[in-house]
């Protein structure tokens, strides 16, 4: 089995911090899965794409849902198709191999060149799910009883796993991973990220929008704090709407793009209304 070689240095469409880049390279060198956690919208899923792009590898994505079973990632034995063929088709059904379909993990193992395997949102699945994959991820091989075959990797894939921390992952699983928590980017890093998405943004507009954004994030009574992707969308909306930078802080236009919860929206609108009322009152007093 060959080690995937090469080191990850980030790619053009994705800003990576030094810490994260280190973690990726450690995981590649130690041949362990890299477990990524972080607030929604910090680019956990994008990381795998960036690694694949930077190292020139194919990316295989396994999206986990609450009903996903570990077995599906390995292979599925399509007994129904085989039965159908035996009754109505003129196919040869004695070859079981034809009815074994590889899952995403199996696909990654059998790929002719090294690949990046992204197991996205592993915490969505059942509590036992990660434990069911321990052996396969450790040994990078599994056995198919129906055909008495063992599937082994030719090239060890780079495994990236993301989690939103909806469930604690089992300790045995964690012990085998390299872990990295993506921090929410500070203003400086955020500017770099925004420059990738909106290269020709007016300076003043950017500053005003960022100020308002971090102000909203710093409020304690907000239930769902806006994230990077929402800020990017908001900037888009501000540009398309042709909003003048001076109005941004005062009016927070298109607030619904940033805040997705009714309670949060109401709260901010109330505060805004309160401010403008007191301002009106002040001017009347004068």
């Amino acid at each position: 089995m060959k080690r995937p070689n090469g080191t990850y240095n980030g790619s053009s469409g994705y800003i990576v911090s030094d810490e994260l880049r280190n973690s990726v390279n450690i995981a590649i060198a130690l041949q362990k899965p890299l477990l990524i956690k972080g607030e929604p919208g910090t680019g956990k899923t994008m990381l795998a794409q960036s690694i694949a792009e930077s190292l020139g590898m194919e990316l295989i994505i396994w999206n986990i849902k609450s009903t996903t079973k570990a077995q599906e990632g390995l292979y599925v034995y399509d007994t129904v198709q085989r039965l159908y063929d035996s009754q109505f088709g003129d196919q040869d059904v004695s070859d079981i191999k034809r009815y074994i379909k590889m899952g995403k993990l199996g696909e990654a193992f059998l790929a002719p060149s090294p690949v990046v395997l992204l197991i996205d949102e592993i915490d969505k699945a059942d509590l036992e799910f990660p434990n069911d994959l321990l052996w396969e991820l450790d040994q990078m091989s599994f056995y198919i009883p129906e055909t008495k075959e063992t599937i082994r990797t030719k090239h060890r894939p780079i495994v990236i796993i993301t989690s939103n921390a909806e469930k604690e992952l089992p300790d045995a699983f964690l012990r085998r991973c390299i872990f990295h928590y993506i921090e929410f980017p500070n203003a400086e890093a955020m500017e770099k990220i925004l420059a990738v998405h909106h290269p020709n943004l007016e300076r003043k507009l950017l500053e005003q929008a960022m100020d308002s954004f971090y102000m909203l994030r710093s409020l304690h009574n907000i239930q769902k704090r806006p994230s990077t992707s929402e800020l990017i969308d908001w900037l888009q909306a501000l540009v398309i709407g042709g909003i003048s930078p001076n109005r941004i802080k005062k009016e927070l236009p298109f607030l619904g793009v940033l805040l997705k919860k009714n309670e949060d929206l109401d709260l901010i609108l109330q505060q805004l209304a309160g401010k403008s009322q007191s301002r009106n009152a002040m001017s009347r007093y004068r």
Binding site: I26, A27, A29, L30, L83, K167, E168, C177, F179, E183
Partner: protein, 404 residues
Amino acid sequence: MFTRFYYELKNQGLPVSMNEWDALLEALEAGLSGSSLTGFYFLCRAVLVKSEAHYDRFDLAFARFFEGVETPEGLPDKIWEWLNKALPAREISEEMRRNHQQLDLDELKRMLEERLKEQQEQHHGGNYWIGTGGTSPFGHSGYHPGGIRIGGQSNNFSAVKVAGMRRFQEFRSDETLGVRQFQVALRKLRQFTSRLEGAKTELDVDATIDKTCQNAGRLELVWERPRENSIKVLLLMDAGGSMISYSRLCNQLFSAVHRSSHFKDLKVYYFHNCIYDWLYHTPECRVNDYTSTSHILNNLSGDYRVIIVGDASMAPSELLRQGGIIDWDLYNDRAGIEWLRDLRHQYEYSVWLNPIPRKYWEWVEGSYTIKKINEVFPMQELTLDGLEQAVSALRSRQRVARAT
């Protein structure tokens, strides 16, 4: 050689296993730390720490263990001024590396002190005075292997500094957090009926199709026992005056419990400071809207999980005396503590959550009653960590208190 560091991490309560330690040593062998303390810091963290909740503990352990590896501080302001005007960075060749003799730290410090006394003005690009660029051991943006960097921008933070900043403090799981986190913690409070008991009443579609196909198409039904959560919860909340300062926290827990739809049954009652003959239906504790405590004791079976939320702080008489109840127009025949013992006796799976942080339990006004109640109920503070511990305590039978 870092074995002591391993124990320091353990001391800070980090669950580091030998597997991970082995992986770290392997990584060091492979030179992944880049032979700098900063590289070592990030390497250790990536390999050893598996939750952002533990980053802070790791930082503390790291800072404590590698203390004293920091760059010296407290230099005259004038020197900072000189250093603020920097020369562009210079290329470093192998030859330069060889030409420099390594100075040890004490020697460096001594030289720096001397130089501080001698130097009166700015110097940039030389090899003796404190300044930017150049190859003097003192200053920044220059090159001297093992010199002392004074100010300027290092490409890397000193690792001890990074650790010392404790940026991950707010992720500590013993901090109080929001509804969502409470919900996640409560989600662990479940116990599925096992697949071994009960009637097989659920059609297992997948297994049926599989079996049928392997039977060459002759239908074979496969039945499965349904699995459902069998946990029933009784939540008792203190609505007394002293709880007002914790109302936000309690509200968060309350909404988390309510949103957790996975309990088989959920019953909520309120009490004022301590539990006596009555448990009220609303937080206002109106005297005509209650269920008697003995009715609950008789009718709710012992497999209810009981969570009591209260600050457990009251006058000792309220807890220990007959007629000690705080409400003027009421009288209790039995002391509050007796009722608590009865509850504890009936419900082996029970915990007391206290919104007062654990470290103050011995110092607040109600410390005496907190201690008394803690003898009856296992008590946890109302934080995410405390709730998690409470939940795991509720999953298994707890020792019934000695005093009866």
